[in-house]
C-alpha cells in the first residue's frame, strides 16, 4: 500500500499538466485529494505503528538484485509522524495554492505537477527502508526543489538561487551516498532497519558518519551551508511553506533522527552536530531579527529552528528524542502556517516588506489570529505545542548538562549547549514578535498599502487549521507522549521519565523558559537598540562568499586546464594522437619482437611491379604542389590497389575499387575546379621534417604490426566454412556477396546507414538552406534554360543528341561525348541491373551495381550539365536513399512477421506466366536496398558537388556581371554630366 500511495502521487503529478489545461488553478483542489487520501490511510494506521504496542508495517519488492537494492518501505513511529506531516501539510498547501495562483497564471500545469511529484518523493523518502532507495528519493527531492525554486526562470536571481540550492544539496547528497555505501558495506546490509538493529562500528563508520552528516547538514541548511535556504525564497510562497519549512529541509533532520539511536555514540557525531546545530540556531535567529522581508525573516527563522532540531534529535537521549519529535511536529505546524500567512499578506497588500505594511490586523482578522497563534507557538508561549516541546527540550538538556544522561558529554559542553539553546530561544521570541508586529501592526508614520483586500475563506483556511492544530497539540501532551514513545524507546531510560505536558512543576526548565521569554520580550521592546547593535556587529564575511569563491576557483581551474590542453588545432591533436600511437603500441611492439614469421617476396612477380608503382605514386602525391596532380597520383595508388586485389583473388574488391576510384577522381575534379590549382604556400616548412618523421615512424609501426599480427595468428579463420554455408544456406555462389547480404547483413545494414548520413551531409553542406527537394519538372527547366541560352547564343536552340545539351555554353559542349552518352547510357544502366541480379553468384552485387549506375548518371551530367542530370534522374536523391534504406530494413524485418529471425533469407521459387520459372533468394531485395542507397549517394554527390557548385558559379558570375554593368553605367552617367 505504501508503494501504491507513492505511485499515486507520481501518477497524479504526470496527469497534472493535462488537468491544468482544463481546470486552471482548480487543478490544485483535485490534486490535493491524493495526499489527503494518503493522510487518511496513515492516520488510520496510528493505532498500529504508534502507541504502547507499536510495530512497524513493512513492504518490500526486489528491484536491483545485483546491488542488493530493494523497493522496501517501512512505517515506524518516526516515519509515521513524518509521513503525516508530509501528506497533511501537502494537501493543505495544494488547497491553498488553488487560491494563491490566478486562474490565468502561466506554468500552472508544470508547477502543480512538480509540487505533487515532490509530495510523492518526500513520502517515499520518509518511508524508505533501504539506504540506496533513501538516497534516490533524497536526490529526487533535490531536483524537485531546484525546479520549483526556478518556477519563474525569467528572473536572473531565481535562476541563480535554484542553481545554488541544487549545487549545495547535491554536493551534500553525493557525500551522503558515499557515507551510505560505507555504512551498507560495514553493516553487510542496505536495509535501514537492519543497520539500526545491528549498528556497525569502526574507523570507516566514523568517516561514514561525517559524510552522512554533511548530507544532512547541507539538506537542512545548517551552517556553513545555510545560505541556500534564504535564497530559495525566490520560489512561490506555497513552495517555501512546504519544501523549505515543513518537508524537504526536514529530510536532514529526519536522517539525523533516524540514525541517532544507532550512530549517536560514534565519534564525531555528537561534537559535530551539537556545534553546528547551536551555531546555526544562534546565527539564523540573529539574522532573522534584521530582515525586512517577512519571507526572509521566516527563512532565517527556519534555519535557526533546523539547527535547534538537529541538536535535540542528534544528542541521543530518550527525553531529548521524545521532545525533539514533538518539536518537529510543532515546527512544521507553525512554520507552514506562518509562511502561508505571508502569502496572504503579500497577495492582499502587494508587498512583504514590513516597513511598508501597516494596519493589516483589522483588515485580515483570520490571518492575524492564525499568525498570532503560530508565532506564539514558535516563541514557546504556553499553552501551545511549541511551549510543550521546548519545555521538555530544556528539561532534557538540563539533565545532559548535569549528569550527561548517558551521553558522556562533559558538564562544560553540556552547560554551553544549554545556554546556547536558551539564548537561541530568546532570539526566537524576539523575531516571532517582530514578525507579528511587522506584518499586522498599525505603525505610526506608515500609510496602509492601497487596495488591501481580505482573503477568501478557503485561502485563509490552511494557515488557520495549522495554527489551531498547534493550539490543540498543546493540550494533547498526555496523548502525544505514548504515541511518540516507541521512537524514544530506542534509547535507554534517562534521568527522568520523559513525558510531554503543559505543567511539570516548578523547576529549572520552567525558569529557563521564562527567562528566554522575558529576554526575547525585552529585545523586541528595545528593537531599535538591537538594530543598532546589529549594524555595529555586522561581519564582513558571509558563507555565501565562500561558496562563490569555491565556484570561481573551480571555474578558473577549468579554464586553465582547458586552455592548456585544448589547443584547437587539428594538426596538434593529430600529432598528439600519433605520438601516443608511436610511443605506447610502438614500445610494446619493440619489446615483444616480431616473433617467427616466414617472409616471402610475392605471390606473383607482377605484385612487385604494381607495388613499386604504388609506392612511387604515393610518395609523388606528397611532393606534388598542384592539386590536380596530387589527386591523379593518389588515383594511381587506388587503381594499383585494384590490381593488388585482383592478384590476391578478390575480383569483387577489384571491381568495386576501380569503380570507386573513378567516381572519387571525378568528384575531386568537380570540387577542384572551384579551388585554386596550387596548394597555398604556408610557412609550414619548419615543421616538415617533424611531420615526415612522424609519418615514417607510423608507417614503420604499421608494417611491424602487419608482421606481428600475422605471426600471432594461431586459430583457424572463422570463414573456413563460409563457402559451404554460402551455398547451403545463402543459396549463392559468390561467397563475398552472401557474406554481405546474408551472413553479416547486420554490418551491411550499418554501413548503408553511414552512406545515407554521408550523402545527406554532403547535400546539406552545399545547399545549406535552400532545400534540394522540390518539384522535378526537367521539361520546363530545360525549356526555360534553352530559351535563355537561345537569346544569347543564336545557335543554342538547334536539336541535339541530349535534350539539355543546348543549355551548356557552346565552348563547353562536345558533340562526340554527347553522342557516346546518348548511345551508352541505357546500356550502362542495364549492365548495372545485370550486375545487381547476378551478384549473388558472380562478382557484382548491390555496391558495384550502384556505382555503375552512378557512373552512368555522371556521364549524363558531364555531357549535358545539370539540367541533363535532372532529366536523367528526375527524383530527389533523399527519396532514393530513403527508399533504399526502407527496402533493406523491410527485407530484414519481414522474416520476423513469419516467425524467422531478423535478416533471415529464404529461397523463393515461383512460376510466373510468360517468364516461366523464377528462382531467387529474398536477400536479393536487401541487395536492391543497397543498390538504391549507393545510387542515392551518387545522385546526391552529383547534385551537390556538380549541379550545386555550377549554380553557385553561375550566380557569382551573374553578380559579377551585374556589378560590372553597374560600374559601366555609372561611368557613362559621369561622362554625360561632364
Amino acid at each position: 500500500m505504501m508503494a501504491v500511495l507513492i505511485a499515486a502521487h507520481l501518477a497524479a503529478a504526470a496527469l497534472a499538466p493535462l488537468l491544468a489545461g482544463r481546470l486552471r488553478s482548480r487543478v490544485f483542489l483535485v490534486l490535493a485529494v491524493v495526499p489527503a487520501t494518503a493522510f487518511a490511510w496513515l492516520a488510520a494506521r496510528g493505532g498500529t505503528v504508534a502507541g504502547p504496542d507499536a510495530r512497524s508495517i513493512t513492504q518490500s519488492t526486489a528491484w536491483v538484485d545485483s546491488l542488493g537494492m530493494q523497493l522496501s518501505f517501512r512505517l515506524g513511529t518516526l516515519s509515521w509522524v513524518m509521513a503525516l506531516l508530509v501528506t497533511g501539510i501537502g494537501a493543505l498547501v495544494l488547497v491553498y495554492s488553488a487560491y494563491y495562483f490566478r486562474p490565468d497564471e502561466t506554468g500552472l500545469g508544470r508547477f502543480s505537477g512538480l509540487l505533487t511529484g515532490f509530495a510523492g518523493t518526500m513520502l517515499g523518502l520518509v518511508l524508505a527502508d533501504d539506504l540506496l532507495l533513501l538516497y534516490v528519493f533524497w536526490e529526487l527531492t533535490t531536483v524537485f526543489s531546484y525546479l520549483l525554486i526556478g518556477h519563474n526562470p525569467d528572473r536572473r536571481a531565481n535562476r541563480r538561487a535554484a542553481m545554488q540550492a541544487l549545487i549545495v544539496t547535491t554536493f551534500g547528497g553525493l557525500a551522503m551516498l558515499v557515507g551510505v555505501v560505507i555504512v551498507g558495506q560495514a553493516a553487510g546490509t542496505y536495509s535501514i532497519s537492519g543497520v539500526l538493529a545491528d549498528p556497525p562500528a569502526g574507523t570507516a563508520v566514523s568517516v561514514a558518519v561525517v559524510l552522512l552528516l554533511v548530507g544532512a547538514v547541507s539538506k537542512s541548511a545548517l551552517v556553513p551551508f545555510h545560505f541556500w535556504l534564504p535564497a530559495a525564497m525566490a520560489a512561490p510562497t506555497p513552495v517555501s511553506a512546504y519544501l523549505h519549512a515543513a518537508a524537504m529541509v526536514k529530510a536532514g533532520v529526519y536522517v539525523v533522527a533516524l540514525f541517532a539511536p544507532a550512530l549517536a555514540g560514534v565519534l564525531p557525531w555528537r561534537p559535530l552536530l551539537l556545534t553546528v546545530g547551536v551555531a546555526t540556531m544562534l546565527l539564523g535567529a540573529w539574522r532573522a531579527l534584521r530582515q525586512h522581508d517577512l519571507k526572509l525573516l521566516l527563512a532565517f527563522g527556519t534555519v535557526s529552528q533546523l539547527g535547534f532540531l538537529v541538536v535535540v534529535l542528534g544528542v541521543g537521549t530518550r527525553s531529548a528524542a521524545l521532545a525533539g519529535v514533538a518539536m518537529l511536529v510543532a515546527h512544521a505546524l507553525f512554520k507552514a502556517a506562518l509562511f502561508l500567512v505571508v502569502g496572504i499578506v503579500d497577495h492582499g497588500a502587494g508587498t512583504r516588506d514590513l516597513r511598508l505594511l501597516s494596519g493589516l490586523r483589522r483588515r485580515m482578522p483570520v490571518a492575524f489570529w492564525a499568525a498570532v497563534l503560530a508565532a506564539a507557538s514558535m516563541a514557546g508561549v504556553p499553552p501551545l505545542a511549541g511551549f510543550v516541546a521546548k519545555e521538555s527540550i530544556v528539561k532534557a538538556f538540563v539533565d545532559v548538562a548535569r549528569t550527561g544522561d548517558g551521553t558522556g558529554i562533559p558538564p562544560v559542553a553540556g552547560w554551553t549547549v544549554l545556554v546556547g539553546l536558551v539564548a537561541g530561544s530568546a532570539l526566537t521570541v524576539a523575531y516571532s514578535a517582530r514578525f507579528v508586529w511587522g506584518a499586522f501592526a498599525t505603525k505610526p508614520g506608515v500609510s496602509e498599502p492601497a487596495g488591501i483586500h481580505s482573503p477568501p475563506v478557503g485561502f485563509a483556511a490552511a494557515p488557520a487549521l495549522l495554527a489551531l492544530g498547534g493550539l490543540a497539540l498543546g493540550f494533547l501532551g498526555s496523548a502525544e507522549t505514548p504515541a511518540l514513545a516507541p521512537y524514544a524507546e530506542h534509547y535507554p531510560e534517562g534521568v527522568h521519565h520523559a513525558s510531554l505536558g503543559l505543567w511539570h512543576g516548578l523547576n529549572l526548565a520552567l525558569v529557563l523558559s521564562a527567562v528566554s521569554l522575558a529576554a526575547g520580550a525585552v529585545m523586541y521592546w528595545q528593537r531599535h537598540a538591537v538594530a543598532r547593535a546589529q549594524r555595529g556587529l555586522r561581519v564582513g564575511y558571509e558563507a555565501e562568499h565562500g561558496f562563490r569563491r569555491t565556484l570561481r576557483v573551480v571555474d578558473r581551474v577549468a579554464v586553465e586546464v582547458t586552455g592548456a590542453t585544448q589547443r584547437g588545432s587539428l594538426p596538434v591533436y593529430l600529432v598528439v594522437i600519433f605520438v601516443v600511437v608511436i610511443t605506447v603500441p610502438g614500445t610494446a611492439l619493440l619489446m615483444a619482437g616480431v616473433g617467427s614469421v616466414d617472409l616471402y617476396g610475392w605471390d606473383n612477380p607482377a605484385q612487385l611491379a604494381v607495388g613499386g608503382v604504388l609506392v612511387a605514386a604515393a610518395i609523388l602525391t606528397a611532393r606534388s604542389g598542384r592539386r590536380l596532380k596530387a589527386v591523379l597520383l593518389a588515383g594511381v595508388t587506388g587503381y594499383g590497389m585494384a590490381l593488388l586485389f585482383m592478384m590476391h583473388g578478390a575480383p569483387d574488391l577489384a571491381l568495386t575499387q576501380v569503380l570507386v576510384e573513378t567516381v572519387t577522381l571525378a568528384v575531386f575534379v568537380l570540387v577542384l575546379r572551384s579551388l585554386p590549382p596550387r596548394f597555398s604556400e604556408r610557412p609550414l616548412t619548419s615543421t616538415r621534417w617533424g611531420r615526415l618523421g612522424i609519418g615514417a615512424l607510423v608507417g614503420a609501426l604499421m608494417a611491424g604490426f602487419a608482421l606481428v599480427a600475422s605471426a600471432a595468428r594461431t586459430a583457424d579463420p572463422v570463414s573456413e566454412t563460409f563457402a559451404e554455408r554460402a551455398e547451403a544456406e545463402g543459396r549463392g555462389h559468390n561467397v563475398v556477396n552472401v557474406i554481405l547480404v546474408d551472413i553479416r547483413a547486420w554490418d551491411t545494414m550499418g554501413e548503408i546507414s553511414v552512406l545515407v548520413v554521408a550523402a545527406t551531409g554532403v547535400a546539406s553542406l552545399v545547399f545549406l538552406i535552400t532545400g534540394r527537394t522540390g518539384r522535378w519538372r526537367p521539361d520546363e527547366a530545360i525549356g526555360s534554360a534553352l530559351d535563355s541560352h537561345a537569346s544569347s547564343h543564336p545557335d543554342g536552340g538547334r536539336p541535339s543528341w541530349l535534350r539539355a545539351g543546348g543549355t551548356l555554353p557552346p565552348d563547353r559542349r562536345s558533340i562526340v561525348f554527347e553522342v557516346v552518352t546518348r548511345l551508352a547510357f541505357h546500356i550502362i544502366v542495364v549492365f548495372s541491373v545485370y550486375l545487381l541480379f547476378s551478384g549473388h553468384n558472380m562478382p557484382g552485387g548491390g555496391f558495384a551495381a550502384g556505382l555503375v549506375a552512378g557512373l552512368a548518371l555522371m556521364m549524363r551530367y558531364l555531357a549535358g550539365g545539370r539540367h541533363e542530370l535532372n532529366d536523367a534522374a528526375p527524383v530527389d536523391a533523399g527519396l532514393v536513399l530513403g527508399v533504399g534504406l526502407f527496402v533493406a530494413t523491410g527485407t530484414g524485418l519481414v522474416p520476423l512477421a513469419v516467425g524467422g529471425a531478423v535478416l533471415q533469407s529464404a529461397v523463393v521459387d515461383l512460376s510466373v506466366p510468360l517468364l516461366g520459372h523464377v528462382h531467387f533468394t529474398t536477400s536479393l531485395f536487401f541487395d536492391v536496398g543497397v543498390y538504391l542507397v549507393v545510387v542515392g549517394l551518387m545522385l546526391d554527390v552529383l547534385r551537390s558537388l556538380g549541379s550545386g557548385v555550377d549554380r553557385h558559379g553561375d550566380e557569382s558570375a551573374e553578380n559579377g556581371r551585374d556589378e560590372a554593368d553597374e560600374q559601366h553605367a555609372q561611368q557613362e552617367r559621369l561622362g554625360e554630366t561632364r
Binding site: 525564497m233 570561481r552 617472409l599 597555398s680 614503420a700
Partner: protein, 165 residues
Amino acid sequence: MSVNVVLVAVVGTLFAVGVYLLLERSLTRVVLGLLLISNGVNVLFLIASGGAGQPPIVGSSAPERMSDPLPQALVLTAIVITLGVTAFLLAMAYRSWQLHEHDEVQDDVEDALIRRRAERDEASSSYDDSAGGTLDERGADPAGESTQDSRDGDGAPIGPEGETP
C-alpha cells in the same frame, strides 16, 4: 603464418605518406592523406587474410584454394564508405573555400577564446559573478525586474571571432 613482403612495404609507405599529408592544413591534402591511409588499411586486411588464392566463388574454384572471403567483404564496404567520407570532406573543403576563400583547417576560435581567458586569468564566459542578487534584505521580488542580461564577466567584451574591440 607467412607474410608477403611487397604488401608489407606497400602498407608502410601508404601509412607514412598518408600520415604526413594528414598533418597538413590544406583540407585537400588531408583528404588525400585519408585516402592513402584507407588504402593502406585495406592492404593490411589482405595481409591478415593470408596468402593469395582463387576467387571465392563456389563452383569456379575449390574451397580449399579460395582466398579468405570474410576480409574481402569487410574491405568492400570499407571502400564504399571511404567514397562517402571523401565526398563529405570534399564538400567541407568546398564550403570552406566558399566562406573563407581557402580550404585550410583553421584553429578553433572558441578554444582560442578560452586560451585568452586563461592567459588573462579570467573565469569562463558562463560564469556568473554578479554578487548579491539574493533576496537578502532587499525586500521582495519587485515585478518587472526580469533582467536577462548576459554580461560577460568583468574584463573587456570579447567578440565572437576572438577580437577585442
